[in-house]
């Protein structure tokens, strides 16, 4: 039945756990719609035949609706609509909540290609390799205009925006190669902005990843762009460490938990911070990125807005590398306390 309907509706193969959820609701909605509209259509056709005009000047009785009829007109469709909403929203919450322990992959869209980078090492353009049966979380950003990461076989789509990270996750359930398309119009090359997801058996994937880390030659496809530096790093964390040093981050941030001008990076990722506005936020990838691009936007309570913006000074993959570096700085501490405030007031503040 599932397979029959899938083929009837021209749907691609169901290659992720989310795809099956979407398709089942899709079948429910489409079948109900067909049954209901056929019923309405048949009623109309019956009326055409039964009540056709038999002679000119024919008069008709005055028929007024009843409260019961109008209530049925409202509540029968509404009940179905709300049921579909409830199922659909439950599935959407599933899609927007990555399970803990997902494997992270950074995705960068630019006119007109997709690049993928794994925190532990390799990066590639145009091919995303993932293990079957393990949750994968994508952290996505764009270098130029808005794109949209779309894998029809996974029923998965999320816009990719410049200046912020969006996330989405999936668990591939079928081995194979599936097309990645850009779904948000992005210019002349929009329709050729394609890539490929390769779903591998977990053992094969692990082996592939080991080879990559060992420094075997990586096939680099795609032209280097203006903002890319020629250095090759073994992984994002070490690239992030080098970048943080060269960009002068350590003039204000420490990595050992000591107080300084800015909050320490040790255990920063995943920490709940209280902002100057009184709001509480979670220091996730999106927040760390925003703090580099627009440091004044969400100040942690107690700190001064003295940090310059790194917008335009860091390319998107470099931001991702620094974020990964911050994420790698974990102590054994289990406490998740807010930052203690700066060690001293910098001279520049009022």
């Amino acid at each position: 039945m599932n397979e029959f309907l899938r083929r009837m509706l021209f749907l691609p193969p169901q290659a992720s756990s989310y795809a099956t959820l979407v398709d089942h609701l899709h079948f429910f909605v489409i079948l109900t719609t067909l049954v209901m509209s056929t019923a309405v259509g048949m009623t109309a056709i019956f009326f055409f035949v039964r009540y056709r005009r038999r002679h000119e000047g024919q008069r008709t009785p005055h028929v007024e609706t009843s409260k019961v009829a109008e209530a049925l007109f409202i509540f029968v469709p509404l009940a179905f609509f709300l049921l579909w909403f409830a199922i659909g929203f439950r599935d959407y919450v599933y899609l927007s909540t990555p399970p803990p322990g997902s494997m992270d992959v950074y995705v960068m869209g630019k006119q007109w290609m997709w690049k993928f980078a794994y925190p532990e090492g390799p990066s590639s353009a145009g091919v995303l390799r993932v293990p079957m049966g393990r949750p994968v979380r994508l952290l996505m950003t764009s270098r130029d205009v808005i794109h949209s990461f779309y894998v029809p076989a996974f029923r998965l789509k999320k816009d990719v925006l410049p200046g912020r990270y969006t996330e989405i996750w999936f668990e591939a359930t079928k081995e194979g190669r599936y097309e990645v398309l850009c779904a948000e119009y992005c210019g002349a090359g929009h329709s050729v902005m394609r890539a490929e997801v390769v779903v591998m058996r977990p053992a094969e994937f692990d082996e592939w990843m080991r080879d990559q880390k060992r420094g075997l030659p990586v096939v680099q496809d795609g032209e280097p762009t203006r903002l890319e530096r020629p250095q090759v790093y073994s992984n994002m964390v070490s690239q992030g460490r080098v970048l943080s040093a060269s960009q002068g981050c350590f003039k204000c941030h420490t990595i050992d938990g000591a107080q300084h001008v800015g909050p320490t990076w040790l255990d920063l990722y995943g920490k709940r911070e209280r902002l100057a506005s009184g709001q509480e936020i979670l220091a996730d990838e999106a927040y760390l990125t925003e703090s580099m691009m627009d440091p004044g936007a969400k100040m942690v309570a107690g700190y001064q807005n003295v940090m310059p913006s790194y917008q335009g000074r860091l390319a998107a993959p470099e931001v991702a590398a620094i974020v990964e570096y911050i994420k790698s700085l974990r102590s054994e501490s289990v406490a998740n306390a807010p930052s203690k405030g700066p060690l001293y007031e910098p001279a520049r503040t009022q």
């Binding site: 038999r54 109008e70 779309y150």
Partner: protein, 559 residues
């Protein structure tokens, strides 16, 4: 059956054209300087039909390109400009003014027993504003057109090297025409109804126009703000939507859809008004739930303002916002359901005559139900993740905006043609064209639903080979559709020149606009109209008013 339904009392055919609005001054200046709402309506009708033709040509070029998966006869930039022009022309220059400015202008004063709209000069001005805006945008298209899509999404639009400014400014100016028309209708409906014509006696078309006018007045300024912001950002680089300078690209989308979602109802509400009128006239029957239909027009106008976020489910909106906008979208669907059920209910115990406009009513119901239900499916968040920005969405909104709204436009054109031009078209050819158009629509857009299921994103110049079969099917359907339109153009042109003159009330309708001559005299009525009855009450035969030209015809309720 090509013979019209003669009502029980008729003027002698062709004898009452002496002083129609068409013959009152035949010079070009008498049209360009007119303050007659009917002439303004007819001029708008000519303009929007010209725009429909232009948009249709763009659509055919797009479909021809898509016969081939690779590059073919036009390059990517030309293709991108074509779908932008197709969208801008069809949405802003055809669909939004089509029914309110053309048929609304012509009919609202006739239906409420007024001699003209409240502000006749402003009404003429709205035509010239429209012409100026559309002219500027078309000029811009010739001189290096926009390639952003009609949605103008930033930061693509603000960084695109294409000349965007004339197109943005043109649409901005046309917005004022929309606002002026809206204000004019609101004031006219509130203050100029004939004595005895209470709110609950108003024809349902007037209710539809009233709901539309509210949206036009409230939503269009937001579009104006947005278009100016994009123009400023594109020209001066203020960084409003540029994250590199603290701007937000999503802000642009919020502003855009805050206008453009209600704009969908600007396009469809007047169409629903047309259907409410014509379904009663076809079945000679009172509407099944008059108040339900009237209230749901206002309900759509209100709730339609709170659903814009369903265009942004995958754009990076929070999960909570997505849920909220999804629920609200379900509620706006209910108003359409109420109307649909009430139209079908109206047929019950009626006396249905199958005229050309009735064929379009059937088409409208079909396209509205399927277009609407696919809309509900799209508003179901998890399903939208797959369908968003694919051909499924394209097919969905073409079912509503082209299927339903254009069906209503064609129903209006055929139903009120005798009223507007005093001549009759050939019913047989009318039915042939209607059938062709409906088959053509289905053949064009059902393959597009399936393409969307299959995963083809919209605005694709080239596509992977496995999408080809459905694309070819869609193009074949589109050519059928074009053929249907050509037939309509031919038989209506023939009717205009050689058509048989019409009786005053060829459909035996109880609508107030049929109480005066067809075509009406310059000041609409020979005497002040009296409305003792409901415009949809078919228990008694239709009334006609005495014509000044023919005083020998007494009040024509000769039963």
């Amino acid at each position: 059956m090509s013979q019209p339904a003669p009502s029980s009392a008729q003027h002698p055919s062709g004898a009452h054209h002496a002083d129609s609005y068409l013959t009152d001054g035949t010079t070009v200046m008498s049209w360009l300087n007119t303050r007659d709402h009917k002439r303004v309506g007819v001029m708008f009708l000519i303009c929007v039909i010209a725009m429909l033709f232009m948009g249709g040509v763009f659509a055919m070029l797009i479909r021809l390109k898509l016969l081939f998966p690779g590059a073919a006869f036009i390059d990517a930039l030309t293709y991108n400009r074509l779908f932008t022009l197709h969208g801008v022309v069809m949405v802003f220059f055809f669909l939004i003014p089509a029914i309110p400015s053309a048929f609304g202008n012509f009919l609202v004063p006739l239906m409420i027993g007024a001699r003209d709209v409240a502000f006749p000069r402003l009404n003429l001005l709205s035509l010239y504003i429209y012409l100026a805006g559309a002219g500027l945008a078309l000029w811009g298209m010739i001189h290096g057109a926009a390639d952003t899509g009609w949605t103008f999404y930033a930061p693509y639009s603000t960084t695109s090297p294409e000349k965007l400014f004339p197109v943005l400014l043109g649409v901005f100016i046309v917005g004022f025409s929309s606002i002026v028309t809206g204000i004019n209708f609101i004031v006219t409906i509130h203050t100029m109804r004939a004595p005895g014509l209470t709110w609950w006696k108003m024809p349902l078309f007037v209710w539809g126009i009233y709901g539309t006018s509210i949206i036009q007045v409230l939503a269009t300024p937001v579009l104006g703000i947005l278009l100016l912001s994009i123009a400023v950002e594109h020209a001066l680089g203020w960084g409003l939507f540029d994250p590199a300078r603290g701007g937000d690209p999503l802000l642009m989308q919020h502003l855009f859809w805050f206008y453009s979602h209600p704009a969908v109802y600007i396009m469809i509400l007047p169409g629903m008004g047309v259907i409410s009128e014509t379904v009663c006239a076809s079945a000679h029957k009172n509407p099944f739930g008059y108040r339900a239909i009237a209230y749901s027009s206002i309900g759509i106008a209100f709730v339609g303002f709170f659903t814009w976020g369903h265009h942004m489910f995958v754009a990076g909106q929070s999960t909570f916002s997505n849920g909220l906008f999804a629920v609200l979208s379900m509620f706006v669907g209910i108003f359409t359901a109420i109307k649909t059920f009430n139209w079908v209910g109206t047929l019950y115990k009626g006396a249905i005559a199958f005229k050309t406009f009735f064929a379009y009513i059937c088409g409208f119901l079909y396209f509205l139900v399927f277009g609407g239900m696919t809309g509900i499916a799209l508003a179901t968040v998890s399903l939208d993740v797959h369908w968003h920005d694919t051909y499924f969405v394209v097919a969905h909104f073409h079912f509503i905006m082209v299927g339903a709204a254009l069906m209503a436009f064609l129903a209006a054109l055929h139903y009120w043609w005798p009223k507007m031009f005093g001549s009759r078209y050939h019913e047989g050819w009318g039915l042939v064209a209607a059938v062709l158009i409906m088959l053509g629509f289905n053949a064009t857009f059902i393959p597009q639903f399936l393409l969307g299921n299959n995963g083809m994103p919209r605005r694709y110049y080239t596509y992977p080979e496995h999408f080809r079969a459905l694309n070819v099917a869609s193009t074949a359907g589109a050519s059928l559709l074009a053929f249907g339109f050509i037939i309509i153009a031919v038989y209506l042109a023939v009717a205009l020149r050689y058509g048989r003159r019409t009786e005053q009330n060829p459909w035996g309708s109880k609508g107030f606009e049929w109480l005066t001559d067809s075509p009406p005299p310059t000041h609409n009525f020979h005497e002040d109209p009296q409305y003792p009855e409901d415009p949809h009450d078919y228990r008694t035969p239709p009334l006609t008013q005495p014509s000044a030209a023919h005083p020998e015809v007494e009040v024509g309720h000769a039963v």
